[in-house]
């Protein structure tokens, strides 16, 4: 028994070292974002001799961080809330209705899970242009609705099965409208799925790069953070101190989000993956 405990703590020590090594590149990013340019060129590995906050101020200013942060927030908020709304409604109704039409509709709605984004992105830009969804964070958010709805709908569809249909029947008999029955009785019960859907979609939309590149890069005012980082890095390819400060600023919101909601995030990502 004692021997087993010993090997177990040895193993855990080894794994902690592996984890430290694994995250070492990120540690290097952090320490180098506080250095002066000449300090980086002499040694990347050493700790900074003084904390150079100017890197961050510069990156913050040149990237126009606040504006692009708000843009990303707007696109993500519009996208996530739309996905939750349309897919919970449809997932619920399709799960409750057992007709042939309902089944056809279900197939039509989850088919996009088999279509990779890159195979239709060229025409998506054309459609988006015609619908005037191009060049604004709001339009970007609207485009996310259809892109995120299939998986979310599939998850809601499965979860509704475990909710007894007597619940919504009762509400309807008591005179509630179908929408009211859904939002007051069913939707609160679907909360675990909703949390997963929010997590999956927030992480994806916040970090997405290609769609924003396709629909926003024409209008400088409506870029997202990832696009701003892309442009910023193009400018400061060699000035690593600025580049790393920019990198750190860009990943900061996601890291804070992760640290606060770590348990939900991991659970949500797993449930999203297993569902497909």
């Amino acid at each position: 028994m004692k021997k087993r405990k010993l090997t177990s703590s040895f193993l855990s020590l080894v794994l902690f070292l592996v984890a430290l090594l694994y995250l070492y590149p990120l540690f290097l990013v952090v320490i180098n974002s506080f250095k002066t340019f000449s300090e980086i060129t002499t040694n990347v590995l050493a700790l900074p001799s003084s904390l150079e906050f100017e890197n961050f101020l510069n990156a913050f200013r040149i990237m126009e961080y606040p504006r692009y942060f708000l843009n990303t927030l707007l696109a993500t908020a519009v996208g996530v809330s739309g996905v939750v709304l349309v897919s919970s409604l449809a997932g619920f109704k399709l799960s409750r209705t057992k007709t042939r039409y309902s089944w056809v509709m279900f197939i039509l709605l989850i088919a996009p899970m088999m279509i990779p984004f890159h195979s239709f992105m060229i025409s998506l830009v054309k459609v988006a242009k015609q619908l005037h969804l191009i060049g604004s964070p709001f339009g970007l958010g609207v485009l996310y609705w259809g892109l995120g709805a299939s998986l979310a709908l599939f998850m809601y569809h499965g979860a509704v099965k475990s909710i007894p249909h007597e619940l919504d029947d009762c509400a309807l008999i008591d005179g509630a409208s179908p929408f009211r029955a859904f939002f007051q009785i069913i939707f609160p019960l679907l909360q675990p799925v909703t949390v997963s859907v929010i997590v999956i979609n927030t992480m994806w939309m916040w970090n997405d790069f290609l769609l924003p590149l396709l629909v926003l890069s024409g209008s400088k005012k409506s870029l997202t953070l990832q696009l701003a980082a892309y442009n910023f890095f193009g400018l400061y390819k060699v000035e690593w101190n600025y580049a790393m400060a920019g990198v750190l600023l860009t990943i900061l919101p996601a890291v804070i989000f992760y640290l606060c909601l770590q348990r939900y995030i991991i659970k949500g990502m797993v449930s999203g993956a297993v569902k497909t």
Partner: protein, 296 residues
């Protein structure tokens, strides 16, 4: 009779009100663009003009017989995908098995390995560009190991391993947590029974654990396959497809064909091929893996 019709109509209206928003969103963002892409793949179109000239199978002819760059991109994408699927899944599974035992601080470890996964791929590419250049230079200066002086992003052979390393580093945590979740579903009594029967750790793993977590393996291989075949962001920021066009993936090639050299019709033909490729590979994989899943 009229009462019945009214009821039916009412039911249809409610059904529509619940499902049409989703249908509309999906039609706009996915299904209509997809059908348009299939149509455009038979046309010549520069993206600016309103007219798309129908040219039949010309795009596909060019693609199959007259576009070595596209085939190079295809070959690179397939090789990288295969390598990253194997490496990611083997490493993630191994790590998951270690973390599934009674280990001090296993939750902290799991969270730590997951961290790279929350960072966007475009930023991941920049971080590693920094590590491979400035970072490796300092490693070399302080250790003297030749390894760090190689041109990890400039050499046409080494760059494959750099891209592989970065992709695995980014995604490992995700597959790790899926495998850990899978391992938690393996009934303890089966493991104990095999122990009483005298099975050692390896037999236990290969004969009991592995068949039982086959569903997780199916899922993880499916995701890593399709992510590999779609690789774009990390390539753009890490190597920009270079040196030369060595690390250009299909997705990057499609992007450039359409949005850099403005051959939209031809780009859509390539994207239809990508769709078919992913469809065929994933359905073969899912079918093959599903057959090996067992029920308890």
């Amino acid at each position: 009779m009229t009462q019945l019709n009214k009821k039916q109509l009412n039911r249809a209206l409610v059904f529509g009100a619940f499902t049409l928003p989703a249908l509309l969103a999906i039609l706009i963002s996915v299904e209509i663009p997809f059908l348009m892409s299939v149509f455009s793949s038979f046309t010549k179109w520069n993206g600016l003009d309103r007219v798309q000239t129908f040219i039949g199978l010309e795009n596909y002819k060019e693609l199959f017989f007259d576009d070595p760059d596209m085939w190079k991109a295809m070959l690179f994408t397939l090789t990288l995908t295969l390598a990253s699927v194997v490496t990611t899944n083997v490493c993630a599974l191994l790590l998951a098995v270690l973390l599934d035992s009674d280990l001090a601080g296993k939750n902290v470890l799991r969270a730590a390995f997951y961290v790279p996964n929350i960072i966007s791929l475009i930023i991941i590419g920049y971080i590693w560009r920094f590590i491979f250049s400035a970072g490796f230079e300092s490693f070399y200066q302080s250790t003297g190991v030749e390894f760090f002086m190689f041109s990890w992003l400039g050499d046409t052979h080494l760059v494959f391993f750099s891209v592989l390393l970065v992709s695995v580093w980014h995604s490992l945590g995700f597959y790790l947590v899926v495998y850990i979740a899978g391992l938690q579903t393996v009934p303890r009594d089966l493991i104990e029974a095999s122990m009483i029967d005298g099975a050692n750790r390896f037999t236990q793993f290969f004969r009991i654990t592995l068949p039982l977590i086959m569903p997780s393996i199916t899922v993880c291989v499916f995701h890593s396959l399709s992510n590999g075949l779609k690789a774009f962001d990390v390539i753009l920021s890490l190597t920009n497809g270079g040196p030369g066009t060595v690390t250009t993936t299909i997705a990057l090639d499609i992007y450039r064909t359409a949005f850099v050299i403005n051959r939209f019709g031809y780009g859509t033909a390539k994207s239809v091929i990508l769709f078919l490729l992913i469809l065929v590979i994933s359905s073969v994989q899912v079918r093959a893996f599903k057959q090996r899943e067992v029920e308890v």
